[in-house]
Amino acid sequence: MLSELPLFPVGASTIAPQVDALYLFMVGLALFFSVLIAGLIVYFAIRYRRRAPDEIGVAATGGLILETAWSVIPLVIVLFIFVWGAAVFFAMARPPADTLTIYVVGKQWMWKFQHAAGQQEINELHVPVGRPVKILMTSQDVIHDLFVPAFRVKADVLPGRYTTLWFEATRTGQYRLFCAEYCGTKHSGMTGWVYVMEPHEYQAWLAGGVTGSLASSGEKLFQDLACNTCHLPDTQGRGPMLHNLFGSTVLLATGEKVVADESYLRESILTPRARLTAGFEPLMPTFQGLVSEEDVLQLVEYIKTLKK
């Protein structure tokens, strides 16, 4: 039975060794201090046990040096840990420039992943090994949280906005995927598997049984929702031209500048008047309620492919 007793999780991402190193350092530190304190207590308790019923302890004097020492030393230690921990955290928070983006919508109680090539999967995620992957996440109802222990990453998935999480898998294999934020009755059933594959296997998998890419579904929606009546492939439309929009800096009517990232595109579709583009009338109707989060993701992916 002991062979079934795992004590340490496998690590399968570039960030995992960094987290583990920090963790093991902390374990060492914790061991040191607990053993120190426990050892001193036991030693003092035996050495200075009460030998006569009316015995009295010897009051100590002049503790200032000691007090300062044990205030300053822990302070230095924790500041060191802080810097180290923050460095790892920053590495987790900032995806590298060139990532493979996969979309996920969380809903009570399942994960729906969509690959740019059009593959959709539920509670399963296929990714290539050795390539940074960014997951762009949103929720249709309550807060969920995507957690892959083997990668040592997790991030909350919120309704009404995009959050991201990234990792680069280093080992092929099959790893557990959990929902880590309590989300209601079947929270513990909102689990699945991540399959890390060799790049060519991943390509083959992507090619299998797909009806159309995410962008092409988005394109279809773009026509069905009549977006193309205003957004023309040139500057003649009532709305701004969307080519080369993604990643560019947009000048707003208020004079502010924003980078057109996924969150901006999403907002432009759902609440167009919140941030008006300079030089345009607030003509665009809101599509809130008309499109699902998955539709929005398809539209976003389509707009991202519009290049000139």
């Binding site: 609440t271 008047r273 919140a274 607030p282 809101t286």
Partner: protein, 221 residues
């Protein structure tokens, strides 16, 4: 036994058994009220935080909806409350100087002004009700972002509603004080209840002093 300590001079009838003298009792009561008011600051503080967040998120909508609040009644009510704070301060003065008739008079004045405030508030609420500006199923908003407009109105109703609740409690306190004062319960030596009720009343006034510009006075031009 209770007055073992203070047995060398007669205990004031209003002195509770566990205090040594009226001075200690008064200081305890006043400190207690101040600490209580601090809790009130943080209670309303949560609402002010929510207001701040959504105002930075949705500045345009906040300006737009704010125009639907009635600035005339808002200003009038501010004046009413400030006046009631004056009468309250004068009531405390009357208590300190042992002027029972003015004490009763100013307590009654404070109480009346409080009721006037609540009356005007009720009037405004009924207007909002008729204009379908009460968040919920009946909420109507022709402009953009109805949900953001509803958010502003939610804040409006919660903030002013809780403020009004405090006013109602204050009016209740004032009624009790009036009766006690009428019966001659207070003297220059003993009038802590009037004093601490006064602190409470002024605090409620201060909350309004902030609610008024935040809710009514956003960019009226």
């Amino acid at each position: 036994m209770a007055d073992a300590v203070a047995s060398h001079h007669a205990r004031h009838p209003a002195l509770a058994h566990h205090f040594d003298d009226l001075g200690q009792q008064r200081e305890a009561a006043s400190l207690g009220m101040w600490v209580f008011l601090v809790t009130e600051v943080l209670f309303f503080g949560g609402l002010f935080l929510a207001y701040l967040v959504y105002r930075t998120w949705y500045p345009a909508t906040f300006i737009e909806v704010s125009q639907h609040l009635d600035i005339f009644w808002g200003t009038t009510n501010t004046a009413v409350l400030i006046t009631s704070s004056l009468t309250m301060a004068l009531a405390v003065y009357a208590a300190e100087t042992g002027d029972r008739r003015s004490l009763v008079f100013f307590l009654l004045a404070t109480l009346t002004l409080g009721c006037v405030f609540l009356g005007i508030k009720a009037l405004e609420y009924s207007h909002k009700f008729h204009e379908h500006l009460v968040p919920g199923a009946a909420f109507q908003w022709d402009g953009d972002h109805a949900e953001r407009a509803a958010l502003f109105m939610s804040l409006y109703f919660i903030m002013t509603g809780l403020h009004a609740l405090h006013m109602i409690i204050g009016v209740g306190l004032m009624s009790v004080m009036t009766v006690l004062a009428w019966r001659g319960g207070f003297s220059p030596e003993y009038h802590v209840p009037v004093e601490v009720s006064g602190l409470y009343w002024h605090f409620v006034d201060i909350v309004w002093i902030f609610l008024f510009p935040l809710l009514y006075l956003i960019s009226r031009h």
